[in-house]
């Protein structure tokens, strides 16, 4: 059976009798990808789980008004990113009133997560990626971590393959430079 396109799923979602079924299909298609995206931003599983669920509630509520000026995944990705950022911002505020070193608090929190096996190199890479401009972050994460092809990214982000390659190249160059300068 042919798989429904994102546009068809959105259309079905707007039909009350098909809404839940369509949303289940959207979840099946994207929940795992979004989870990993969020997880790479916030590192800790429990936090990623909460943020993913909040993201999905926003998607459920926002999908009727989605104007489809970007691909569905890109739109969901942005909501997930903003949810994660809101979470990190709140964490930042919480840390501001604590007397312990904020870096230690983050490291200890990650270390206490039984589902994280990262080393110092990964933590450094995570920090450097977060310093990149958002578009480069998105392109780098989609290409490097999600193994998306430039063609798929081009469809999703409505950006030319050439521009995506340039963004990825710039991101890699900056990350490499950060690693070289710290050696």
């Amino acid at each position: 059976m042919q798989q429904l396109s994102d546009t068809e799923l959105i259309s079905q979602f707007r039909n009350p009798s098909l809404k839940e079924k369509a949303f289940r299909l959207i979840l099946a298609r994207y929940q795992e990808k979004l989870y990993w995206h969020i997880r790479r931003l916030v590192l800790v599983h429990e936090d990623a789980d909460d943020i993913l669920q909040n993201t999905m509630i926003k998607i459920w509520n926002g999908l009727p008004g989605f104007r489809e000026t970007s691909g569905l995944y890109t739109w969901m990705y942005r909501i997930a990113s903003n949810e994660a950022i809101t979470f990190l911002k709140a964490k930042q505020r919480d840390r501001a009133v604590l007397t312990d070193d904020p870096d230690d608090i983050v490291k200890n929190r990650v270390k206490s997560d039984p589902y994280f096996d990262g080393d110092a190199v990964y933590e450094k890479l995570h920090g450097v990626i977060n310093q990149l401009p958002p578009k480069q972050q998105m392109v780098f994460r989609m290409k490097y971590f999600d193994d998306m092809t430039y063609e798929d990214m081009s469809t999703e982000l409505k950006t030319s393959v050439g521009a995506l390659k340039a963004s990825f190249h710039h991101a890699v160059r900056k990350i490499q430079s950060a690693f070289e300068n710290s050696d």
Binding site: E20, F23, R24, L27, A28, Q31, E32, Y35, W36, R39, R40, L43, H45, D49, L52, Q53, M56, I57, W60, N61, T69, S70, R78, S81, N82, I85, L88, K89, Q92, Y115, F116, D117, G118, D119, V121, Y122, K124, L125, N130, P133, P134, K135, Q136, Q137, F145, S167, H170, V172, K174, I175, Q176, F179, E180
Partner: protein, 145 residues
Amino acid sequence: MSEEKYIWEDKEFNKNPFRVPDGYFDHLSDRILSRVNDNPVESIKVSRRIIRPWMVWASSAAAVLVMGWFGFQNLYLRPHQEAVFQEGVSLFVDYYAQELHEGELADYIADHQIDLTTSSTVDYNYLIQIEPELTEEMIYESVNY
């Protein structure tokens, strides 16, 4: 074709150091759907029978106080901040229209000392109409993490 190896990928490097509890993804859809159903977007219809007159007065008084506070903010606090910000946004959008690279855009924010922390209080809907990615850029930058 061999895959490119990057400088950070030494032999110890683990590209995906994350794990999830066993079976986590198996029931995720059900958990999300149950939460979605617990948070319907339609406003909850409050029965008129449980609304008492004092509730109407209290909510009216609260509304007046809130409106007063926002009025005070808008009349006395925000105009200057907003004018500075709008000027920054205009420059920002003009600059963006020239299709500059995102990295240069970030440099532009820094060079012009646009205070994105204060701008985060401004209504982003205005910006979304102009340029969604610009808005996202500002949200990210305002986090400064």
